[in-house]
């Protein structure tokens, strides 16, 4: 049977070599017909529009990566001067040191020694501005004739507030999520889910306001704190923002536990609560752990709530009921007043860099746990 060519306006080619100059010019003469190329219909056309659009879309998408890289670069760049000890913007007169500490009395030998020690530390400040030693000191007093950039009170402040927040929010959120996953009747679930979404949607400045105006007073009246605004109050306020995070991830992890495990447990005669506590909850542990990590990260980085509810005094102590200054609040409160490029500016950026690194690490670890939950745990079973 012979291959009859179907009568169409197509030039058919078996090999590119057989394209003669004649057939090319014929193609050019014939051109398009209703948008369809009638000769060499199969030949790849370069579509400029498609090409440009694809390239532009790819390029614009790259912006996300570009910006995150920029954030890394700039936040670290502006804090770099810390490591070079040549930043001195406010020279201090050594005379003042002696006069300030001891009135008119002639200093004794012991006191003199203390004065000398203090002089040395101040000299360090003069020389190094914000060297590593100073950053680790216990006083944060950037706006004074002898600026001190001791970060310890700030770090301790952040730690105190975060600890209170997580200690309060984690159990509440996890138990509430357990209730939703294991015990709640349908109507309760319908009530709880939107409540969590609403809570998550409340801006942190509103939570801060609520804490500052109403909650702090209530807590002081109930417990009789010495200071109305303190680490504890700030921590409780912070937990309002952390609860939705831990709840959502916990609830998600709990619901991902394969039904067969629950059924197996119940079939063995275990009760609902035994199943929930001894089978479902342990199975969801990696996810819950990830949730707590993310909650910690959020608490550590939160600014507005702590700015408004912690009293903002950089005190260095273990007392939970004293005012504190967190790292984030420090940046928030002081950044608006600094001179571009001076020591204070640099130190604030340094604090920001530390904050950034810390939350980034927490998120990365949490991510590992979330992924682990999806793969290893249930494949082995």
């Amino acid at each position: 049977m012979q291959d009859l060519k179907t009568p169409k306006e197509t030039e058919t080619l078996l090999h590119p070599i057989t394209i003669t100059s004649e057939s090319i010019t014929t193609r050019e003469k014939r051109g398009n017909n209703n948008g369809r190329v009638t000769t060499l219909w199969w030949k790849k056309r370069f579509r400029l529009g498609e090409f440009l659009i694809e390239k532009s879309i790819t390029a614009i998408s790259f912006l996300s990566f570009a910006f995150i890289a920029l954030i890394f670069v700039f936040v670290f760049r502006e804090s770099l001067p810390i490591f070079s000890s040549s930043v001195v913007k406010k020279p201090v007169e050594t005379k003042q040191v002696q006069q300030e500490t001891y009135g008119d009395d002639t200093p004794t030998a012991e006191l003199q020694q203390q004065v000398d020690e203090r002089k040395k530390s101040v000299e360090n400040l003069e020389e190094g501005g914000a060297t590593a030693a100073n950053l680790a000191s216990k006083t944060w007093q950037p706006v004074s004739s002898k600026p001190k950039y001791g970060m310890l009170p700030l770090v301790v402040g952040s730690l105190k507030v975060t600890t209170v927040a997580v200690l309060f929010s984690a159990p509440v959120a996890i138990l509430a999520a357990l209730f939703t996953a294991a015990f709640a009747p349908k109507w309760a679930k319908e009530l709880l889910k939107p409540s969590i979404e609403i809570l998550a949607g409340i801006p942190s400045v509103v939570i801060g306001f609520f804490a500052l105006i109403a909650m702090a007073t209530f807590l002081q009246n109930t417990f009789g704190f010495q200071y109305r605004l303190n680490a504890f109050v700030g921590g409780i306020a912070l937990s309002l923002a952390v609860i939705p995070i831990i709840y959502t991830i916990t609830e998600d992890s709990l619901s991902r536990v394969p039904k067969v495990m629950t059924e197996a447990s119940l079939a063995l005669g275990a009760s609902k609560w035994q199943t929930a506590l001894f089978v479902v909850l342990p199975a969801a542990t990696p996810g819950i752990f990830a949730g707590i990590l993310l909650g910690i990260g959020r608490a550590f980085g939160e600014t507005m709530i702590v700015l408004m509810a912690t009293g903002n005094a950089s005190m260095f102590s273990g007392d939970l009921f004293e005012p504190v200054r967190t790292m984030s609040a420090t940046i928030g409160a002081e950044m608006g007043e600094v001179v571009f490029g001076d020591t204070h500016y640099t130190v604030l950026f340094f604090i920001g860099a530390v904050l950034f690194l810390f939350t980034f690490t927490l998120n990365a670890i949490a991510e590992v746990f979330i992924r682990q939950r999806l793969t290893k745990r249930f494949e082995g079973q």
Binding site: E54, I68, A176, A276, G301, T359
Partner: protein
Amino acid sequence: MRKLVRKLLGLSIPLLSGLCAISVVLIVLIVMGEVILGGWSTLSWEFLSTGPKEGMTEGGIYPAIIGTFLLVVMMSIAGVPIGTITAIYLSEYASQKSILARMIRFAVNTLAGVPAIVFGLFGLGFFVQFVGTGMDKMLSGGTDLKWGQPNILWASLTMALLTLPVVIVSVEEAIKAVPRELREASLALGATKWETIRKVVLPNSITGILTGGILAVSRGAGEVAPILFTGAAYFLPHLPKALSDQFMELGYHIYIMSTQSPDVEATRGIQYATTLVLLLLTFTLNFSAIFLRYKIRTRKAR
């Protein structure tokens, strides 16, 4: 004895967890209730439409509302298109294994986890100092310090960056909800990839783009940390007229007024009312977004 312990646990576990669940609901009610009760009386049309008077102890918050509005509009203009395009790239153009796609996803996930205050730092260090002073140098040889200052332009760009992940996630969800059969039908008719995206995928993803935009606006109106030193101000004599102007903003107003106002008693009503306005705003936005998202999910199930 063991039976008793077991019985106790059996009662207390559900009870305890139930209590926790109730407390969550209670917390929401208390917070909202407190704000509503405290601010309801001060809320009025006049409050919303006039500016502050008598050193912030009287009058309204009109400029703050306008400032917030301008901020989120500019933020959306910058962020929604970029977010949508990035979502299109990730779901339509990127191959699963491509390194570029993984880099972008990593970037988006990281952006989502950066604390708001760090965005503020970036806004200051990059937009205000680097880009701003750079622009000043180019435009006026460094003499006119116009762009090297905090203003509404830098604040909106900073916010756009912060809300970018929100937009991307929403739009990607909507794009993935478009059934594969529709794409195949279009391609089988001889449409190119972009033609298919433009004529079939995007028109059916509008709801998702809208959801992303609304969620971004809600975040943008609520976050204060990034604008603390990139453009917000407490009292300005006039509304922002140019991109290089500063602006008043609802959340910032609440913060300053409640922590630094000289006359706390006099401004208490205003504080509450401003908070109420912000709360109502974000609540309405979130509710609409949730409603739209529900529509997307039910459409996908069809």
